[in-house]
C-alpha cells in the first residue's frame, strides 16, 4: 500500500466513522411513540410484575428495542454489580432484567452485547454472586472485566463543572449504543443511587469524585458525549437503608417496579419519587439530579412529560 492508498483508506474510514456517529445522534434525538396509539412517550413506569416481564411491557410502550438498537450495533449494558451480594440482597441490578435486555438487544439485531461494571468488592465474586455473569452469558452477552486501569481510556468533559477529565471503560467508548441499568438504592454518600450515580461504575478513578464534590462530579461525568440510549431503573427490589451495600435482608423492600426513559434526569426523578413512598428522602438532598438538570441533561419536571403508567 503506498501513501496515497493509505490516505484514501484513512479518509474513507474517517467518513464511515462520522456516519456512524450521526446514526447514533439520530437515535438520541428521535421522539418515541407508542406502537399502537401513536402517542409520544417520555417515561414508562411499571409495577407489579416480575423484573423481566415489567421490562418487556415497558420497552413495548417505548416502541420496541428496535427504536434504540439497530441491526449490527455493538451494545454495552451497564448494570450495577458493585457488591458481592446475592440478588435477594438488592445490592446489584436484577440478573433477570439483564438477561431480558440482552435478549431484546439481540432480537433487535445487535451484533454484540457487552456487560460490565467497575465493582467495589472483588470483581470475580461480584460478577458471580450477583448472578449477572451467568444470566448475561446465557443470553449470549460478553461479560467484560473492569478491574484494572488498562480497560479504561481518558476522555474530556468540556461541560463538566468540577470534573474535566475521566477515564471511561472501553466497552462504552467502543459501543454504538449503551444502556444504563441501575438498581434503585439508598446511598450513604449521594443519598440515592439511580441512573446518574450508576455512571460511577463506568470510570476508573472514583476517589476524585468523593474528594471534589461528589454530587457535582456525578452530574459532570453524565455530560460525556455518549449518552445512554435508555435508562432502565430496576426497582424490583429496593435497598431502603444502609445503601449502597446493605448489611442484611432487613434493608430490602420487595417493591416490584421499573422505570424507563431516554432522559436520565427524568428517570432518576421518577425513581426518587417512588423511593419516597418507601422512606422519606428529599429529592433536593439527591443533589446530583438537580445538578444534572442545570447541565441540561434532562428534566426533573416529570409532571409535564408524557408518562405511561402500567400496573401488571
Amino acid at each position: 500500500m503506498d501513501r496515497r492508498d493509505f490516505l484514501k483508506a484513512a479518509a474513507v474510514a474517517g467518513a464511515a466513522l462520522t456516519l456512524k456517529m450521526n446514526g447514533g445522534m439520530d437515535i438520541m434525538s428521535q421522539t418515541v411513540r407508542n406502537a399502537q396509539t401513536g402517542d409520544s412517550v417520555d417515561l414508562v413506569a411499571v409495577m407489579g410484575g416480575e423484573a423481566d416481564a415489567m421490562f418487556q411491557r415497558a420497552i413495548a410502550e417505548m416502541g420496541g428495542m428496535g427504536k434504540f438498537v439497530k441491526k449490527g450495533n455493538k451494545v454495552a449494558i451497564k448494570p450495577n454489580i458493585g457488591w458481592d451480594k446475592s440478588p435477594e440482597l438488592a445490592g446489584n441490578t436484577n440478573p433477570k432484567l439483564i438477561s431480558a435486555i440482552t435478549q431484546a438487544c439481540f432480537a433487535a439485531g445487535a451484533s454484540e452485547v457487552t456487560v460490565f461494571d467497575h465493582t467495589c468488592d472483588d470483581w470475580v465474586a461480584c460478577y458471580k454472586n450477583s448472578g449477572i455473569e451467568a444470566a448475561a452469558k446465557a443470553a449470549g452477552a460478553k461479560v467484560m472485566p473492569a478491574h484494572e486501569e488498562t480497560y479504561y481510556r481518558e476522555i474530556s468533559l468540556p461541560q463538566g463543572k468540577k470534573l474535566k477529565r475521566s477515564k471511561v471503560h472501553g466497552a462504552i467508548l467502543d459501543s454504538d449504543v449503551w444502556i444504563n441499568v441501575p438498581i434503585l438504592k439508598h446511598h450513604g454518600g449521594a443519598n440515592l443511587s439511580i441512573s446518574m450515580k450508576n455512571y460511577m461504575g463506568l470510570v476508573w478513578d472514583r476517589r476524585i469524585f468523593h474528594s471534589t464534590d461528589l454530587q457535582q462530579c456525578i452530574a459532570d461525568i453524565c455530560t460525556m458525549s455518549k449518552k445512554p440510549a435508555l435508562c432502565i431503573v430496576d426497582a424490583y427490589r429496593v435497598l431502603k437503608t444502609n445503601g449502597p451495600r446493605g448489611k442484611s435482608a432487613s434493608d430490602v423492600v420487595l417493591s416490584k417496579a421499573l422505570f424507563m426513559s431516554q432522559d436520565m434526569v427524568a428517570a432518576d426523578t421518577s425513581a426518587a419519587r417512588f423511593f419516597n413512598q418507601i422512606r422519606e428522602m428529599p429529592i433536593e438532598h439527591v443533589a446530583h439530579i438537580a445538578n444534572g438538570e442545570s447541565l441540561k441533561l434532562g428534566t426533573m419536571d416529570i409532571d409535564k412529560l408524557n408518562v405511561k403508567r402500567i400496573r401488571m
Binding site: 413506569a45 409495577m47 458481592d84 454484540e112 467495589c120 468488592d121 472483588d122 470475580v124 465474586a125 460478553k142 461479560v143 467484560m144 472485566p145 478491574h147 484494572e148 488498562t150 446511598h187 450513604g188 454518600g189 449521594a190 443519598n191 472514583r206 476517589r207 476524585i208 468523593h210 474528594s211 471534589t212 464534590d213 461528589l214 454530587q215 457535582q216 427490589r237 431502603k240 444502609n242 449502597p244 451495600r245 448489611k247 442484611s248 435482608a249 432487613s250 434493608d251 430490602v252 423492600v253 420487595l254 417493591s255 417496579a257 421518577s270 419519587r273 417512588f274 423511593f275 419516597n276 413512598q277 418507601i278 428529599p282 433536593e284 438532598h285 416529570i302 409532571d303 408518562v307 403508567r309
Partner: protein, 507 residues
C-alpha cells in the same frame, strides 16, 4: 522401574503444587490444596497429626521419599541438576562427600531455637517448602502473570475476555530479594552438586535423615557383588554412596533410585536388609568447610537484619500517622499465634483475591519478618471470603467459617473527623460507609442535607474497606487500627425482606 515411578510422582506433585501457587483464576480443582498440607514443617507447626503420622510412617518404611517427591524445593533442585547435566559439555559426575553432620544438626538446632525464642523468620527461611512457596509467589508468579497479561491484552483486543489483566506489582522488595537469593543459592548448589542444600542446610532433611537411617527399605550394597567401580556414586545427587567403603549413607539418601540402574554387577538394590549387614560409616566432618558455612549463614542472617533496621527508621520518620499495631490476617487469632505458627510460605498472599495481604517488614518485630499482614493500598478484605484461612497449611490462620469470619474483629475503625471531606469541604462523600459491610461506619445527618460518617468500632471487623476507599490524602480520614489479639465483633442482626404494595408511583 522404581526410578521411573519416582520421576512421574515427583513431576506430577511438583507441577501441581507450583501451579497451585500461580493459579489465580481457580483452574486447578480444589483438592490440589492438599499438597501444601502434606508438607512437613507446616504440619509440625500446625500440629496436623494425620499428616505427621503419614510422613513419619512413609520415612520409616521407605526413607526420605518426602524429600524425593513431596518437597517442592527438592524436586526443584533435581530439575536444575538435570538441566546442568543436559547442558554440560563433559559428562557430569557426582562423587562421594563426607557427611556434614555437625553443620546439619547445627542448622536444625539453630532453626528450632530461633523458633522457640520467637524468631520464626529464621525457621521460615530454612523450611524448604516455605522457601519454595516464596520463590513461587515472588519470582515465578510475576512471570506467569506477565504472560497472562500479554495474552489478556491480545485477546481483549479481539473482543475475547477469557483472559483478564492482573495487577503485577512488587509487594515487598525485601521478600523479593530473599526469594531471589533463595533461587540463586539453591539453584547454584543444585547445579553444581545436586542435593547439597538438602544435606547441609535443610532441617527437614536432617530430621528425616535420622529416621531414614533405620527405615525398613533402603538402598543397599551387596559387598560380595560390588567391585568398587563407583559408577553408582557418579549418579548419586546426594553424594552419599561411598563405593570404596561399599556403604550408603542412608541419612542423606533421598531414594531417587538413580544409582540402581547404573550398577553393572547388580550389587545395588532397594529393599529389606540382606543377610550381611552393611557397614556403618563414620562421620569425620571437614572442620574448615563447616566453619565457612557457619560464618556464611551468620552473615546471611545478619545482613537482612541490619537492612531491616534501616528501613524501619525511614518509615517512621516519613509518616505522621502509622498504624500502631499491624493487622494480622483473619484466622490468625493474634500476632503471637501467627508468630508461632507461620513460616511465610506466602500461599495466602498468592491466593488472596483482593490483594489485601503482603509480607510484613518489621511491623511484627524481627521474628515476624515476611509474615503476612493486611494492607489496604490495593484492596480490602472481602466480608464473605475465607480463602486464606481455608488454605493455610500451618494452621497459622485457623480455619474460619463464613459466620465466624463475619464476627472476627482483626482491627477497629478510627475516624479522624478533622480531615474528613464532609467536614473540610462541606460536600457529600460517604465512600467509607458505602464500603462498610457491617455499618460500623454509617452516614448520619450533618447539616444542609449532608451526611457525615459516624463510627461504631464494636461492630467493626477491620476489613479496611473504609481505609481503602477514603479519598483524603496524604493521610486518610479513616483507618483501621489492628487488634494484637483478635476480638469478636458484635453480630449483625439478620432481618427479613419487607414486601410493599403501592397504590401509586409517587408521581
Amino acid at each position: 522401574m522404581l526410578k521411573t515411578i519416582r520421576i512421574i510422582v515427583s513431576v506430577l506433585l511438583f507441577s501441581t503444587i507450583t501451579f497451585y501457587f500461580l493459579d489465580f483464576s481457580g483452574v486447578l480443582p480444589r483438592f490440589a490444596g492438599i499438597l501444601p498440607k502434606l508438607q512437613f514443617i507446616p504440619a509440625l507447626l500446625g500440629l496436623s497429626i494425620v499428616t505427621l503420622a503419614v510422613l513419619l510412617t512413609l520415612t520409616l518404611l521407605f526413607g526420605r521419599a518426602y524429600c524425593s517427591s513431596i518437597c517442592p524445593l527438592g524436586v526443584f533442585q533435581d530439575i536444575i541438576s538435570w538441566f546442568a547435566k543436559k547442558t554440560a559439555k563433559k559428562k557430569k559426575r557426582f562423587k562421594f562427600n563426607k557427611a556434614k553432620t555437625v553443620l546439619r544438626w547445627s542448622m536444625l538446632a539453630l532453626g528450632m531455637i530461633a523458633h522457640q525464642v520467637g524468631v520464626t523468620f529464621l525457621w521460615g527461611l530454612l523450611d524448604p517448602y516455605s522457601a519454595f512457596g516464596r520463590v513461587a509467589t515472588h519470582v515465578f508468579k510475576p512471570i506467569y502473570v506477565a504472560g497472562n497479561n500479554l495474552l489478556a491484552t491480545i485477546f481483549t483486543h479481539f473482543g475475547n475476555y477469557t483472559f483478564y489483566v492482573i495487577d503485577n506489582s512488587i509487594l515487598s522488595v525485601s521478600t523479593l530479594l530473599i526469594a531471589l537469593l533463595t533461587v540463586a543459592i539453591v539453584g547454584l548448589t543444585a547445579w553444581k552438586g545436586g542435593r547439597t542444600f538438602c544435606n547441609t542446610i535443610c532441617p527437614v532433611g536432617t530430621f528425616l535423615g535420622l529416621l531414614s537411617k533405620v527405615s525398613l527399605f533402603k538402598v543397599r550394597i551387596d559387598a560380595d557383588k560390588c567391585n568398587r567401580c563407583s559408577a553408582c556414586a557418579a549418579k548419586c545427587k546426594s553424594s552419599c554412596i561411598d563405593s570404596a567403603g561399599q556403604t550408603v549413607d542412608n541419612s542423606r539418601c533421598v531414594v531417587c533410585f538413580n544409582c540402581l540402574g547404573s550398577c553393572k554387577k547388580d550389587a545395588l538394590h532397594f529393599g529389606l536388609p540382606a543377610k550381611k549387614a552393611a557397614k556403618t560409616i563414620t562421620d569425620e566432618p571437614d572442620a574448615s568447610k563447616r566453619q565457612f558455612l557457619a560464618s556464611a549463614l551468620v552473615t546471611a542472617v545478619a545482613i537482612p537484619t541490619a537492612l531491616a533496621e534501616d528501613k524501619t527508621k525511614f518509615i517512621s520518620n516519613k509518616s505522621a500517622y502509622t498504624r500502631q499495631t499491624p493487622i494480622s490476617p483473619p484466622g490468625s487469632l493474634s500476632a503471637e499465634h501467627l508468630l508461632k505458627h507461620c513460616t511465610s510460605c506466602h500461599l495466602c498472599i498468592s491466593k488472596c483475591p483482593t490483594k489485601v495481604l503482603k509480607p510484613a517488614f518489621m511491623e511484627y518485630g524481627i521474628g515476624g519478618v515476611m509474615q503476612p499482614m493486611m494492607f489496604f493500598e490495593k484492596g480490602f478484605c472481602n466480608f464473605d471470603c475465607t480463602i486464606c484461612s481455608d488454605i493455610c497449611p500451618n494452621n497459622a490462620l485457623v480455619h474460619l467459617t463464613e459466620e465466624q469470619k463475619h464476627t472476627t474483629q482483626m482491627g477497629r475503625v478510627v475516624f479522624n473527623q478533622d480531615i474528613c471531606v464532609v467536614h473540610t469541604e462541606g460536600t457529600n462523600c460517604g465512600a467509607c460507609a458505602e464500603h462498610c459491610p457491617t455499618q460500623a461506619v454509617t452516614m448520619v445527618p450533618y447539616k444542609d442535607g449532608l451526611t457525615a460518617p459516624q463510627t461504631n468500632p464494636d461492630i467493626c471487623v477491620g476489613c479496611g474497606g473504609c481505609e481503602f476507599i477514603c479519598p483524603v490524602r496524604p493521610y486518610r480520614a479513616i483507618f483501621v487500627e489492628g487488634n494484637r489479639v483478635h476480638q469478636t465483633a458484635e453480630r449483625i442482626e439478620e432481618g427479613k425482606e419487607q414486601v410493599l404494595e403501592f397504590d401509586d408511583f409517587g408521581f
